[in-house]
């Protein structure tokens, strides 16, 4: 077992432990902090898998922005999870079935870093060899996202922007009311 395996196993273990703890916890503030640790383990794991750009996004969005967004949500709602009264058998069966399907699919995945993997033989070689002359950006992932798949990325950005606008429209009034009430007290 190499160092690489040890690090990966450790980080994956963290994620499993945190996921179980989050499911068991009733205090939602504690769950948010554990989610931050979850994202952090994921980001470090992406670094170990050489997916630097994904790690960057995970660190910024997962550990930074989402914890703050989740806290803002808790500020507008309640800090404790309600006790569930319904049966849990059906969700459990569904989850187990999904797990079985995923494990079956795991078999068909190419090994990490395999140059013959389908993802690496189709358009990837062209991106790698032509980015420098066609786009002129040193980071190939940036070139793929912003240029080769520019319209795709634009669509994503529009979706996220719309979602953000919707959330702001729904929550903005709530927070403004709260704050003005607070200043009135002081």
């Amino acid at each position: 077992m190499s160092t690489w395996h040890l690090i990966n196993a450790g980080l994956l273990g963290f994620m499993v432990a945190v996921a179980i703890a989050v499911a068991a916890l009733r205090n939602l503030f504690a769950a948010v902090m554990l989610f931050a640790i979850y994202s952090l383990s994921a980001a470090t794991l992406f670094v170990a898998l050489d997916a630097v750009d994904v790690a960057f996004t995970e660190a910024a969005v997962g550990a930074g922005i989402s914890s703050i967004l989740m806290l803002a949500t808790l500020a507008a709602t309640d800090g404790r999870e309600k006790q569930h009264r319904h049966r849990r058998a059906l969700p459990l069966v569904l989850c187990l079935a999904l797990a079985v399907v995923l494990f079956a699919g795991l078999h068909d995945l190419a090994p990490v870093g395999d140059p013959a993997a389908p993802a690496h033989v189709h358009v990837a070689p062209r991106y790698l060899s032509e980015t420098a002359t066609e786009v002129g950006v040193p980071n190939v992932v940036t070139a793929v996202l912003a240029s080769y798949r520019g319209y795709d990325t634009l669509g994503e950005a529009v979706v996220i922007f719309t979602a953000g606008l919707g959330v702001t429209a729904l929550l903005g009034g709530h927070f403004r009311r709260r704050r003005s009430g607070k200043n009135g007290d002081v």
Partner: protein, 95 residues
């Protein structure tokens, strides 16, 4: 030694994770998350050298920034119950 450092950092992160899972107070968990963030910054930096690709330091640097800002934002929330409050000024007016 680099490999040993990486492994020890993972082990020490595991120890801190135990603290995060056990709590008992919320602040213990925030401290553990912050501390795991610092360890992760070191782990990413060390791992970059282990892998022979020190460019990974950019992520370590970004993570150091995010870790700090997230911790302060979380604490600000707990101190004022509101992320938009101008905490410092309110306190100065009180004093």
């Amino acid at each position: 030694m680099i490999a040993a450092a990486a492994v020890v950092l993972v082990v020490s992160m595991a120890m801190v994770l135990v603290r995060a899972l056990r709590g008992p107070t919320l602040y213990d968990r925030i401290l553990a998350a912050n501390h795991m963030g610092s360890s992760a910054v070191l782990l990413i930096a060390v791992y970059g050298f282990f892998d022979g690709r020190p460019e990974f330091l950019d992520i370590a640097l970004a993570y150091a920034l995010i870790n700090f800002i997230a911790t302060i934002a979380v604490l600000k929330y707990f101190a004022y119950g509101d992320l938009g409050a101008a905490g410092v000024r309110e306190e100065r007016n009180d004093a």
